[in-house]
Symmetry: C2
Subunit: 230 residues, 2 copies
DNA sequence: ACAAAAGTGTTGCACGTACACCCATGT
DNA sequence: ACATGGGTGTACGTGCAACACTTTTGT
């Protein structure tokens, strides 16, 4: 593609804040960098965008390369373009957050050359991050909180079948505050998009809780008149 | 600045959706393009970002070049990066919306080379736009609506002194629906950040309405515990 | 006096919030 | 039997929605 445009002597990247929920804690996936700059530092997974690649597909690709999963819930939330945010040159980055079900797949084996390893870190106990990635994370959690209030994103983080207590713990982790059990259940059930299963929790040494699943079809019916994105 | 990074053979731009409110209508500022591509088409004002320029400052500069005003309320809302969104080559664009008080300054004289002229267009009667600018506009109005529900952005669009009816008309224009007069006034006044002035509308041929102004200091006091951005 | 918009209250309903005890299960 | 979390209802206050008439002012 020959362009009549001035060349832009800069690079362009995607960074991803990948959220997961495990053991009652909200976590994000960080990589330990194998390359300079910020070698041996923890950082958000990210990579450069190719010239012939849309930014959505770049984000999908980067997530796939790191985790081996596709079809994750992803959302672009902000673009960071300070001149000096990258020590080696001008790099503008578009930030996405992704939500994944950690479930059993705790081990993440990055196949990329720039990451030594990847680990889940509880968001309340993050290491220092390279670049401006701490700012990016802060922005992501704020957007996530706001989004939680009008979109059913919590279910992207839970296993398909979950208990109401798990759901509540997740809300508490995202919003960073305690919620009232009775009120929470009443409200969630009143929406009408939770399907109660004929099945209970297993392997707990106390009264087993009922399992529920999110019924996306019902959700769409109920909220079809809403602004349907953003 | 010598980089160790691969060169990115693409360009990088800012596009602005500039909202104004006039004669009871919400409008945006469009330019008629003087250059290809989309010569003679209407489009959102925008321009390339310089290499040594942060994206916030680029957005500020572009607005200043077009309108001659600074210190506008601006907000980044989305980045558009499809490979083929620009016919001449890869151009990724970060979109901002800006809010301005049209007041008297109806005439906008663009000093840029790429725009023949600039006009305000009511958002309910927009011409066809070049590039993917119609999509960008659609996204902007959705973000604006949502933002209106939790931030006092309406006052950026009104003159310093305004009547409650003007305020209501603006809300109706942004939300695209009628509101109840009594409920609207009650709610607005209950917030406590509107200051009633000892002054009335002038030059109308009916009962003159009281003027109010937005008291940002009070607003900040009242909402200091809120999430304070995004 | 008339036209035009300003200004003003009440009621019912839906929703959020506060709050404490018994139940079922596994060990 | 005990420990652990599961599961449940009520009462109150707040905020939103529906609704129509009188007042002021300029012409």
């Amino acid at each position: 593609m020959e362009t009549g445009l001035p060349k832009f002597d800069s690079a362009f990247s995607i960074d991803c804040v990948i959220f997961g929920f495990e053991a009652g804690e909200l976590k994000i996936l960080l990589i330990e960098r194998a390359e300079d700059p910020f070698k041996d530092w923890w950082a958000l997974p990210g990579n450069l965008v190719e010239n012939d690649e849309g930014i959505e597909s770049a984000a999908t690709r980067i997530l796939y390369e790191l985790t081996g999963w596709r079809e994750l819930h992803m959302e672009q939330f902000h673009t960071f373009g300070d001149v000096n945010r990258h020590p080696l040159g001008r790099v503008i980055t578009v930030a996405y957050y992704a939500l994944i079900r950690i479930n059993g797949k705790k081990e993440v084996k990055p196949v990329t050359q720039y990451a030594k390893k990847a680990f889940w870190h509880p968001i309340n106990d993050l290491p220092r991050l390279g670049f401006d990635h701490s700012d990016i994370f802060e922005t992501s959690i704020q957007k996530l909180r706001r989004r939680l209030s009008y979109q059913p994103i919590a279910f992207e983080l839970l296993p398909e079948k979950f208990t109401l207590t798990q759901l509540q713990l997740l809300y508490e982790a995202i919003l960073n505050k305690k919620l009232d059990k009775r009120n929470f259940r009443k409200k969630m059930l009143s929406y009408g998009f939770l399907k109660e299963l004929d099945e209970k929790q297993k392997g707990v040494s106390y009264r087993a809780a009922k399992l529920y699943k999110f019924d996306r079809r019902k959700y769409n019916k109920i909220f079809q008149n809403d602004m349907n994105e953003e």
